[in-house]
Symmetry: C2
Subunit: 525 residues, 2 copies
């Protein structure tokens, strides 16, 4: 299966003349070798049925949005996760390229997090127009004031990419330093696709071995376990900060399940070093607690030695699966809890500095000339990172603003805010820029401009809520990375699995998802 | 944890004088060593949460009756299976006794199935009053007329028992020869309990190793696979006869999943015997088809050589997960399909003879003096079976009828019909018997009378629909058995795992379930 190629968009990429890109498009339009829309209905029915069964039996689940309590109580109102029926084709060399970048990005973001001045300066204008970033910066400032150091630093990141169809280049969309989701479910999606191709690969002429195995959840669990071990208090728990309602809970539950089942540690206060008959009882399983920020505010306190105690239990690691969006802080309680956590000695995933380093504004700053050099020494690494940077500009760049007003279809306006879905495309880019130009406010600081990426649109088979859809879609690749270090040394710095998200593109002009997204895996081509 | 013992019923068992049983009850009322109702609320909350999570991630599911399509489409409207939070205490010697009986019962029922005259004669009066049994007997008669032989015979049975609290004896409730359910989910229940005790066993002072492992689904899958192999047509499928709507579908899907994943066979028409590099493609996975009886009527036909073909595909094994209740035959179509299957050369699980051998009337006939001797030679085996027979009588036994009218609380009236829930207890036994005595009809032939068994009532923790209940309950043990033979020899005859069902007893007088039932496992005491 070669990469599906469909002529899809009538707009042209940045940095390519009209005649050039016309040629490229013609090349892209050649007949695809494998079109999953042509699979015969009988086989398709079997594939869909088997996929649904597999999801149910193997825990590839989400909460059903139509069911009561599906976001609060596990085990009720469950539905299979939305999935692509077959893996999305992706060139092997680009996949390798993305994997290689993971450890370099891990290192970069760790160094950026240590440069308090860079973070504060880069975000100083954003602070004035974005209340959320401003509150994060306040906490960051307080930590500077008390000279707080994070000696054990844990990053569970995900770098997201798209493959630009015209230039055939892998371009970074964003780098997530907080609540990188789907590591739990993605292992299962790869397994599902390998299983389906194991059963029907002959008929489809697809080889299951071309779907890379995905151990994202094991890697994340390992990093959390090692961070817990570094903290070195066998009685301390891992605190997972959650939203009060979470339909993606099975993704999180897989991670905690693997963490608890795979990483039991010896009790440090028992005779573990001696030659004794090993009983299960001498192993300590890592205990996890799930709390909202409001609950942490109510139950948490800072002990004199800096330990965070929640409901009387010491916390070794705070793992945020909430706290990334303004809606996660409906009142002062939540901000108080975030500050409390930050002041403590617990390992934070992420710390406030890691969180700030993952903002769009910092992404754009890092893309400026000579900025990477401030943090990294290795020229080759710097070149590799730069190669995957899309065009990124702040809104004080008048030349780009003029071009973007003229050709808005080639740009995306991205607000500081996390969580996706807030980007501005097409004619609205023009309108927004004109408004900002006129206004004379500092609203410009709330946005960055990014080169719009046009990934290949391909015929996809999507399954959602038990119903199968033929559609045209685009894919986005996420590469998970885990990073852990203490005062002396780096303990973990690795690429650890991938996320593929396939989004319906048919209802949108030009390849950016307007429809729903499903979980997918890769078919290396 | 010793067996929970609660004084529960005010009625007395058959064959025990009042003074005797009073003593026994006193002994039973001693303080239980472990009362799960006393577990502290904090620990209980963790247990419930972890149990719900485990069920979700590991496929211990059923269709949610409140959700649309939950009985027809896999992957939607799922909810955790109703479960007991902790395993039910059960004496190890009685468990072993029940396991030992499995292969003897397997053999007995195979021999009974071969005695067409015994089946027809024993059921001749039932035929007149029970339309369903009558239709089954019609098919059976036709097979006698055409001298049809079942050379490959497959039985996937479950023998159900209760432990009588007063006499401390294991008594058989019934023997299921058709659609023995929960083999798929029960493996998971045992695993869940072993897992919970692995986590919290220290706090509960329970040892996970006392929960017997349960490989029911592997055994059933193996038996189906071996039957498929005996049929010796690599292109033939396993046909699962299902109801149009089935909320217990995940139980069935686990069985088919294990069958397909664990038992791939070599293509007989490929070079499998030679020393070749083994590719997955030369293995044939057993294909399963799911059809209702109405679909089989529409799509099925009998080829001249006796092969059953459904939608053009030869059928090796027909596995009934429907067809046991009158409601499974709403029209003549379904009966026609059942006859078609029976006429074919496919291995039937069960054949019509096996099906008839599993009726209540036959159970009662087998309990008569000297009847077991007709089928089995080994005196020890006969003694073992007889030991687990409860009192069973037909309604032409006037002495028993008189006693049952006097002491109806000591009897159960059981109709021929399968599926449970139709039994008559208490005062209604008296009323029914008086009506039958007066009526002069043959209605008596539709029922058998059985000694009422009073199992120990114990404090239980039940979880259903995400909600936890403290209740008093009784348990019923099922032992799965698989049997396969061909013309020459027995291929499989084994005990294969167990089912424990725990039923709420609080709303009922005297220990028979009136409330809901949950899946459970054993804690050997």
């Amino acid at each position: 299966m070669s990469q599906f190629s469909f002529p899809s968009s009538s707009v042209l990429p940045l940095n390519s003349s009209k005649s050039d890109s016309f040629e490229t498009q013609q090349q892209n339009s050649e007949k695809p070798i494998f079109n999953p829309h042509d699979i015969n209905p009988n086989l398709l029915q079997k594939l869909v049925y088997d996929a649904l069964v597999w999801c149910s039996l193997h825990g590839l689940l989400v909460g059903d949005r139509t069911a009561k309590k599906s976001g609060t109580v596990p085990g009720v109102g469950m539905i299979h996760a939305p999935i692509s029926l077959l893996p999305a084709s992706f060139p092997e060399d680009h996949f390798k390229q993305a994997c290689e970048l993971a450890s370099i990005f891990n290192e970069l973001f760790d160094r950026v997090s240590l440069d308090a001045k860079f973070l504060q300066d880069s975000l100083s204008r954003t602070r004035k127009v974005d209340e959320f970033t401003s509150r994060l910066l306040d906490i960051h400032s307080k930590m500077i004031d008390i000279n707080k150091k994070e000696e054990i630093r844990l990053g569970l990141h995900r770098s997201d990419y798209m493959l630009d169809a015209q230039t055939k280049s892998l371009l970074q969309i964003e780098f997530n330093t907080i609540s990188s989701s789907f590591a739990g479910l993605m292992c299962l999606v790869s397994e599902l696709h390998r299983n389906l191709l194991g059963l029907y690969g002959n008929q489809l002429q697809l080889d299951f071995r071309k779907v890379p195995e995905n151990a994202s959840v094991q890697h994340f669990a390992k990093a959390l376990a090692e961070a817990w071990r570094e903290y070195n208090n066998p009685r301390a728990v891992v605190l997972v900060v959650v939203q009060a309602e979470e339909r993606n809970m099975y993704d999180q539950l897989w991670l905690s399940d693997v963490l608890r089942e795979r990483y039991p540690f010896c009790f440090s206060n028992k005779t573990c070093g001696k030659l004794v008959v090993v009983k299960l009882s001498i192993f300590k399983r890592i205990q996890l607690k799930w709390k909202t920020l409001a609950e942490i505010d109510a139950e948490g306190k800072l002990l004199p030695d800096g330990t965070l105690a929640v409901n009387g239990e010491a916390v070794a690691v705070v793992y945020f699966r909430a706290g990334y969006a303004p809606t996660d802080y409906p009142s002062e309680l939540e901000w108080r809890a975030r500050l409390l956590i930050e002041q403590s000695s617990a390992v934070k995933c992420p710390s406030i500095a890691y969180h700030l380093a993952g903002t769009k504004k910092i992404q754009q700053e890092l893309a400026k000339p000579n900025v990477l050099e401030r943090f990294l020494d290795n020229k080759e690494d710097i070149a590799k990172l730069r190669k995957c940077f899309a065009g990124l500009w702040s809104l004080d760049d008048t030349e780009i603003i003029t071009d973007a007003i003229e050709r808005p279809e080639l740009y995306v306006m991205k607000p500081q805010r996390e969580g996706g879905g807030n980007n501005i495309y097409g004619n609205e880019v023009k309108e927004a820029l004109l408004r900002i130009q006129k206004g004379g406010s500092e609203e410009d600081a709330a946005y960055i401009l990014m080169q719009r990426i046009f990934p290949t649109v391909f015929p996809a088979l999507l399954v959602r809520e038990g119903i199968f859809h033929k559609d045209h879609a685009i894919s986005e690749l996420g590469i998970y990375g885990s990073y852990l270090r203490n005062k002396e040394k780096i303990i973990i710095n690795e690429q650890c699995g991938y996320l593929m998200r396939t989004k319906v593109s048919s209802s949108d002009e030009g390849g950016v998802a307007a429809g729903f997204a499903v979980l997918d895996s890769l078919y290396l081509s």
